[in-house]
Amino acid sequence: MASTTAPEYAVEVNDVSMVFNMASEQLNSLKEYFIKLMRHELFFSEFRALKHISFKVRPGEVVGLVGTNGSGKSTMLKIIAGVLEASEGTCIVRGNIAPLIELGAGFDLELTARENIYLNGALLGYTKDFIDGHLDEIVEFAELRDFMDMPLKNYSSGMVARIAFAIATITEPDILIVDETLSVGDVFFQEKCERRIRHFIESGNVTVLFVSHSLEQVERICQRAVWIERGDLRMDGPVHEVCEAYRNQFA
């Protein structure tokens, strides 16, 4: 461990592969399993969602991930966020992550917004004192003060997203992962979210990983882009070059 001389990287993805076993049928029962085992029919077709991906991100860098649907972008982000474990290779992340991957993950719809803020805050690794102290700020940002003690199931999806975004970004994270979450909520809230993300970027301390299908948005926000296509790392470089190449594949 001591020999790794790269604490200057916020995210290090080293030769990461992700293999999913695509059972032609999912075996959820012991009987099926043993029958298949006896008949030597226990084969899985492998699906490699990511193939030997490596890239490194410096602190404060803003990196966009581009690629067509199903090419492995979200899998990559989930590995970085620690939700998935890579089948091969390592992924080292230094600092705390604010994952805006699926807003409202970990919310319980039966609980009130206030209770969910604590539950979600716990999952994000906040301390109780911290949430106590910032509850007002979170509510303020989400603009849902009058609905704090209402069960979340009565919320619209946009309202849920507001709360989720407010909790995840209440403090400046070391690493911010944004996966097309900005498309939720109304225009005004979208702008508010983008302003906050921009504020993080401008502070220079926050590493941002950004996934979007809008190349314009990627070019506007990011400095560097990584293009993943069908699990392969196709290109890694300055945002305009990568986006240009990405566009040209359709031309």
Binding site: Q26, G125, F130
Partner: protein
């Protein structure tokens, strides 16, 4: 501006341990709130439930089994709540990973918290049924003695035992849903194998074969139930053999549980 630099408290937990502890607290609180939300009697149900069960069972069984048991209702309720702590916690832990699927798929979270959450929640409910025990003791004028200081030891061992089982069956259930059905059968068999409403002495009196007696004596729940009755009903410290059995079972199941969980947890996300 949005970020307040003025806040003196640390925003993030200092260690994984602290983080998981807070998550556990939140999850158990969640279970508790959801269980009693919109119920008029609320927490009182956790007290009433064992009492009602005791009343029904005493009416039926007092004619059959209670001949030589003093304070049969107390005997019953102690057996019931102790066994219920095991069944409630393992039944919930059994599907804890499967039910946590939405979370496991989207959030980075230590997976062991889910069975632990269910066992701790069952313990919270158990503590309410102790109120029921107190009521019964008052009713029958059974005076508690200093032997109750053993209670934390008994509960700690039982919780460890349940966590161990929870880890084993919870992990297996992710891969084979049959385990869920199988566990129901095992629990039913286990209920009858444990002297909850009958008396161990009966087996001896009626000349049960040695292997039956052996099985009952090795049965971990027999030992936990006996432990509880020793300290609440018979006012004595648990026998060394009872204590050893409880501790041994707790240790063994926890170790197996950890081993099974460690070996399988990395694949959970592909199966939940």
């Amino acid at each position: 501006m949005a970020n307040s630099p003025t806040c003196a408290t640390a925003s993030h937990a200092r260690s994984e341990y602290q983080k998981n502890l807070f998550i556990l607290k939140q999850l158990v609180t969640k279970d508790f709130k959801l269980k009693y939300r919109r119920s008029v009697l609320g927490v009182a149900w956790s007290v009433l439930n064992p009492l009602l069960m005791m009343v029904v069972m005493s009416i039926v069984f007092s004619f059959l089994f209670s001949a030589n048991i003093e304070n049969y209702p107390l005997y019953l309720i102690l057996g019931n709540i102790t066994f219920a702590l095991m069944t409630d916690s393992t039944n919930a832990a059994l599907v804890s990973f499967i039910e946590a699927a939405p979370l496991l798929k989207k959030v980075k979270v230590a997976r062991f918290v889910f069975p632990l959450q269910k066992v701790l929640f069952a313990l919270v409910n158990f503590s309410f049924s102790l109120v029921a025990v107190a009521i019964v003791m008052l009713w029958f004028r059974v005076v508690p003695t200093w032997h109750l200081v053993w209670l934390p030891v008994c509960l700690a061992l039982l919780v460890v035992f349940c966590v161990g089982i929870g880890l084993i069956i919870g992990s297996l259930a992710v891969f084979f849903r049959d385990v869920i059905h199988l566990w129901g059968v095992i629990l039913t068999a286990w209920t009858y194998l444990t002297p909850i409403f009958w008396d161990f002495q009966m087996l001896l009196d009626r000349g049960a074969p040695a292997w039956v007696i052996g099985i009952v004596k090795v049965n971990p729940m027999y030992n936990f139930v006996t432990f509880m009755r020793d300290i609440f009903l018979w006012n004595q410290s648990p026998a060394a053999s009872t204590l050893l059995m409880c501790a041994g079972w707790a240790a063994v199941t926890l170790l197996i549980g950890i081993a099974v969980f460690r070996k399988t947890q990395h694949k959970f996300i592909l199966y939940v």
